[in-house]
């Protein structure tokens, strides 16, 4: 029986026509022409409907790439702009940067394929010695990014990636290989306007006793989704994934993660916190899969969200799938409102209601940032959160 032909919407057609004539671009085009873009009928996208968001076409890219904060003045900046890839700042020994026109796709799923399809080439970073200078990946509005990052055994790198478009479609694909006993610390920031569509896909493989630490802050956009897939392949490999999302207006942010424990003695720590108001929508999908070989796995996942107004919506899907018998796995998921008693207590001390709310939300959310070792980045993220709170509570 022949499959029914997928009828593409005008926006989908336009998107597919915008894909470049590269190998990955053609592959993406062929795939989506046959399957269509992910939509609410696809389980993994039931709360983040890509097709619907693109139905009317894509707004012209707008906004800035963002300023590099004071605390990262020493960093090496990699700019991904519509006109191409650029470097700014000093590069230290032990970091090799190349570009590749054609690379096999390591990530999985439609957004990985789409991001690979849009990127004209991949930038490959090889870390052969630990880097004290952070590396910033700056995604410009409307630009695609594809980065392959390889950390050799025992090396360490701090990576910051930002996507701040106020309009247009921006995509990012990060394929990361963390060698034995190597460590990647990643801080990511997404802040979009009401016409911004932002998709990122991060695929990480971690070898023996390697570590992946990631802390993300998202403010959402018309549609923003950050996907993370971590494969803890080696023995004693670990990951820490923290995320905060602060959404107002009609912002949509989706944090979707999948961690696979493939080797024994691995550890996962996940903490996600969100605060939403107006008609904003937050999506959290977190899966931890423990394979049969991954004995003595210690995995914890927590997602807690605060609803600050009635019209906001949170969709959460925590999942544990365990095939090993000697493991410790726990997860918690709560969605609630601000504590009225705490609010009254603060007001009785003279703190006006709006300020008391802002203090409580800030305290709630910033727990996510406690894991940030870089003091400057921690202050930067905390300040962004505070600015959002002040703007929304006034």
């Amino acid at each position: 029986m022949a499959l029914a032909e997928v009828r593409l919407l005008a926006g989908e057609e336009a998107l597919l026509n915008a894909l470049p004539h590269t190998e990955a671009g053609e592959a993406a085009k062929a795939h989506f022409a046959a399957a269509g873009l992910p939509n609410r009928r696809v389980e993994a996208f039931k709360w983040t409907d890509v097709r619907a968001a693109l139905a009317d076409g894509i707004a012209e890219a707008d906004g800035s790439a963002g300023l590099i904060p004071e605390c990262l003045q020493e960093a090496l900046i990699l700019d991904f702009a519509p006109e191409g890839f650029g470097l700014e700042g000093e590069k230290d020994q032990g970091l090799i940067i190349e570009t590749e026109d054609s690379l096999e796709l390591e990530g999985a799923g439609p957004l990985a394929m789409l991001a690979a399809g849009f990127a004209p080439r991949a930038v490959v970073l090889r870390v052969t010695q630990s880097q004290s200078r952070p590396v910033v990946l700056r995604r410009h509005p409307g630009a695609p990014m594809r980065v392959r990052l390889e950390l050799e055994a025992g090396t360490r790198l701090t990576l910051i990636d930002t996507g701040l478009a106020t309009a247009g479609l921006s995509t990012g694909l990060l394929e990361i290989e963390i060698g034995a006993d190597a460590e990647l610390v990643r801080y990511s920031l997404q802040n979009g306007g009401t016409a911004a569509i932002d998709f990122t896909h991060v695929a990480v493989t971690v070898a023996d006793t390697g570590r992946y630490h990631a802390i993300a802050l998202m403010f959402g956009g018309k549609l923003a989704r950050a996907e993370t897939q971590v494969m803890l392949a080696g023995e004693g490999a670990s990951c820490l994934i923290h995320g905060a999302y602060l959404l107002s207006g009609s912002s949509h942010a989706d944090m979707t993660t999948k961690v696979v424990h493939g080797g024994p003695n691995g550890q996962t720590r996940e903490l996600f916190k969100g605060a939403l108001q107006d008609r904003a929508r937050g999506v959290f999908q977190g899966k931890i899969l423990v394979e049969r070989a991954a004995q003595k796995t210690d995995a914890r996942q927590n997602h807690h969200a605060l609803m600050l107004s009635e019209g906001a919506e949170i969709d959460a899907k925590p999942e544990l799938e365990i095939y090993a018998d000697d493991v410790q796995c726990a997860h918690g998921n709560t969605i609630g409102a601000l504590d009225d008693q705490a609010l009254f207590y603060m007001r009785q001390r003279g703190i006006p209601e709006a300020q008391a709310k802002a203090l409580l939300v800030e305290a709630f959310v910033t727990e996510v940032f406690d894991a940030i070792e870089h003091e400057g980045v921690r202050d930067w993220f905390s300040d962004l959160a505070r600015t959002w709170l002040e703007a929304t509570s006034s």
């Binding site: 009225d340 705490a342 009254f344 207590y345 007001r347 001390r349 203090l359 409580l360």
Partner: protein, 248 residues
Amino acid sequence: MLNINNLQVEVGGTPIIKGLTLQVPAGEVHAIMGPNGAGKSTLSYALTGRDGYEVVGGTATLNGEDLLELAPEERAAKGLFLSFQYPLEIPGVPTLTFLRTALNAQRKARDEAEISVPDFMKLSRDVAKKLGVTPEMMKRPLNVGFSGGEKKRMEIYQMALLDPRFMILDETDSGLDIDALKVVSEGVNALRGPDKGMLVITHYQRLLDHIKPDRVHVLAGGRIVDSGGPELALALEADGYDRYKDAA
């Protein structure tokens, strides 16, 4: 100073305070005693403006100003302070940040200049020393992980720092051992003054050995059913509240 006239309060549609009249002149400390369920905590919440404590009749003024029309934070800025029976834990908010925010918010509401950080630090240290509040306690998130006694001490510490004009102490003695009770009582007594008033709500007479009241009132069934001097508290300690059963 505090003037309550025929106050009626409902909680969830149920009348709890049923026509309470009470005057506390400046410079005086009045105690309110009563059995469990008499409406003691309801009175303190109604006066401070907590949601869900609906005033359906009567008046309450502080220095002639109507309290009942004001938001809780506005009542606080007018100098009304409630020491909670069960102080809340506020995770993630450092005690000193909380207190400086509260103090400056009150000052702003009164059109006074904000206190500078160095001045605040000095003030907070001076007050802390007197009340046995350690620097460690001040650095922690407010009340998080504190014992019952520490929380009560922290309430009095906040009270001393914010320097209110009228103080309501709701069961401040509960959860305190005798040493902590002495420290807390000394702290409270230091805040007495000719232009200040205090309402001490307690189930037991023990606290009143340390904080000597000018007047004692018995609250039962939502009304003041008896009033007298300090000797009334001693009589209650000996005889219990049974004789007020019918009065309510």
